[in-house]
């Protein structure tokens, strides 16, 4: 025994196959497969019925039609009003979320003391954790009357109120991701600028933000994606009328609101009306997916730069 040990090189791994270990690895892999199955499920759930829908309604008519009236006779399936409604709400949300989210991030990263930050960041998490139905309630029952009080003649359901409140909802996402990106900028860059006599403002705007720009942009893109996909605020406060308008005072119907409103009714499986859910859902999914892929790519870039 001892003689053999001297001759052979030391092998740390035992040659025995451990079946228990393999079984565990297999089970863990199976857990991981559930998320793959989710993705496959989402794609199948959306695109198979959407494909059937496009056999009944031409895809050109769907994507270019300017009137959305799936329940009328004759039914009209132009998705443009829903897309315009979605983009219109998104515009107002982004108008709030990007500047104020970025401002919050710069303050947290460059100005706040460690103690202030440890108090403010959980507060931002609380803001991010408020359910969207609560924001919807707030937009409809508080913000819309407030807009009217200050002399903006909005309809009961309108783009402006839903969009601005949605902006506050997305603000923490933008702030927190941008702050992560800024925190990843090496200290040396800041110290170098300070040594050259730059003020704190100059360091923030000319060094830190440009250095963190891919992460900051990623946070904007993800914010836009969340605005496009958000449902409850628009369902409650922006209305369910597919008007083709950019007027922020008017009611619109977004893609998500249409899906929820139709899904809430008891639609017979297999009807064209049932299939519109999936056609619109697929359109929404493709739009958000493009934004998400861009955002993930950008985040990877800032990781590569500084890690």
């Amino acid at each position: 025994m001892t003689g053999r040990a001297e001759a052979a090189p030391v092998r740390l791994q035992s040659g025995r196959v451990r079946y228990g270990e393999l079984l565990i690895k297999g089970l863990l892999g199976l857990c991981a497969l559930i998320s793959v199955a989710t993705t496959v499920g989402i794609i199948a759930a959306l695109f198979i019925p959407a494909f059937e829908f496009f056999q009944e309604v031409s895809i050109v008519e769907f994507l270019t039609g300017t009137e959305w009236a799936p329940l009328f006779e004759p039914a009209l399936f132009g998705v443009v009003p829903l897309i315009v409604g979605t983009l219109s709400v998104t515009f107002w949300a982004v108008l709030i979320a990007i500047p104020f989210g970025l401002g919050s991030a710069i303050y947290l990263s460059e100005y706040a003391s460690a103690r202030t930050r440890s108090f403010l960041k959980p507060m931002l998490e609380v803001l991010a954790g408020i359910p969207t139905i609560v924001y919807g309630y707030f937009a409809l029952t508080f913000f819309t009357p407030l807009l009217r009080d200050v002399g903006i003649s909005v309809d009961i359901f309108n783009v402006l109120s839903a969009g601005l409140v949605m902006g506050v909802m997305i603000l923490p996402t933008v702030a927190s991701l941008s702050e992560d990106a800024m925190a990843a900028v090496p200290r040396d860059l800041r110290d170098g600028a300070f040594a050259l006599g730059a003020t704190r403002r100059e360091v923030a705007t000319r060094i830190v933000v440009p250095a963190a720009i891919s992460g900051v942009t990623a946070s904007f893109v993800l914010g836009i994606s969340r605005a496009v996909g958000e449902t409850m605020i628009v369902l409650v406060a922006a209305g369910q009328q597919p008007n083709l308008t950019f007027d922020p005072r008017a009611a619109v119907e977004t893609m998500s609101a249409f899906i929820a409103a139709t899904g809430a009714g008891d639609v017979p499986t297999g009807s064209v009306e049932y299939k519109t859910i999936f056609a619109v859902g697929a359109t929404l999914f493709v739009m958000t997916q493009i934004l998400n892929v861009i955002s993930i790519r950008l985040v990877e870039r800032f990781r590569e730069e500084y890690e």
Binding site: G20, E21, I24, L27, L28, G29, L30, C31, A32, S35, V36, T38, T39, I42, A45, L46, P49, F100, G101, G103, S104, Y107, E125, V126, L127, I130, P131, T132, I133, V134, Y135, F138, T141, F142, V165, V168, L171, P172, G197, T199, R200, R201, R226, V228, G229, T231, M232, L235, V236, S256, I259, A260, G263, F278, G281, F285, T288, Q289, N292, I296
Partner: protein, 287 residues
């Protein structure tokens, strides 16, 4: 000899203005939060009473309550925890401890989870409608709602658990291997206990996100009028659905009831958040 003065002369007006703008940005978020809370409490507090917790919804606002909705939300939370934690932690362990990052399928798996985390919740609702309610034939029941919320929060759960596992230093693992432990022994007895506070925090935050969701529940057919206590395989409503139902009604009384239900929902969510933050601060180890 005079000392060199490093400070610029005069006050930096632009700098002060810039700082003011930044502070204003922060205030936008927090002022909205405070306004929202004050508004909800002012309108809804009078309706947060015994009736709200003991009565089913009713067309008469004076006797309308949210008992079935509150119970269903608690059941949903428990079921989501039950389903999400094993699957989420299992996936996180696979990715952090077992998966070989050089393999394309493991990288794809990671990308897939990042992507799923950003899919709109209404799309998960469509998945639930097509496969769980109609495909599996489960019907519009509480279990279907719990399953779809599980899939919805799973990516967040996985990401949080992975961060917790990654924070455990490699020296812990190497120490275990040096003593002859197998990979699972190291994972289960060393890494997992060390990562537990982080995983617990992540689980609580994931569940609180799940029970605040409305859109997926609309799609899986949560009905808005349920007069009896929910069962796992029965029709259901949930607090966010109940709020949605009440806020749609034009009468002031129902708007106030919606505010009352919001107080209950926020009470549940903020306590969960507080527990999560406490856990993180109390048990998180700096290595």
């Amino acid at each position: 000899m005079t000392t060199v003065n490093l400070k610029r002369r005069g006050r930096d007006v632009k700098g002060a203005a810039f700082k003011g703008v930044l502070l204003l940005s922060l205030i936008v978020g927090f002022a909205t939060l405070v306004t929202l809370l004050v508004d909800v409490f002012r309108k809804g507090w009078q309706y947060v009473d015994e009736t709200l917790f003991t009565n089913p919804p009713s067309i008469d606002p004076a006797i309308a309550g949210a008992r079935p909705a509150i119970l269903a939300t608690i059941y949903l939370g428990l079921m989501v925890i039950l389903f999400t934690v094993p699957i989420g932690v299992g996936t996180a362990i696979y990715l952090e401890e077992y998966a070989d990052r050089r393999r394309w399928y493991n990288r794809l798996l990671e990308l897939n989870i990042q992507n799923l985390a950003a899919v709109p919740s209404i799309v998960y609702g469509i998945l639930g409608l097509a496969f769980i309610v109609r495909g599996l034939g489960l019907g519009q029941v509480l279990l279907a709602g719990a399953l779809i919320l599980t899939l919805l929060v799973l990516p967040n759960m996985i990401i949080a658990s992975r961060e917790a596992l990654r924070a455990v230093p490699d020296t812990i693992r190497q120490g275990g291997y040096a003593l002859g432990a197998t990979q699972w022994q190291v994972t289960a007895r060393q890494v997992l206990p060390a990562a537990l506070p982080g995983i617990a925090t992540g689980s609580i935050l994931s569940v609180s996100r799940g029970i605040g969701e409305t859109a997926p529940l609309i799609m899986v057919g949560a009905v808005t009028y349920v007069a009896f206590d929910p069962t796992i395989l029965g029709p259901f409503t949930a607090l966010p659905m109940q709020i949605y139902q009440w806020v749609r009604l034009p009468q002031e009384e129902f708007r106030a009831l919606a505010a009352a239900a919001i107080i209950v929902l926020l009470g549940i969510l903020l306590s969960l958040n507080a527990v999560a933050i406490w856990l993180r601060n109390r048990y998180q180890r700096r290595w």
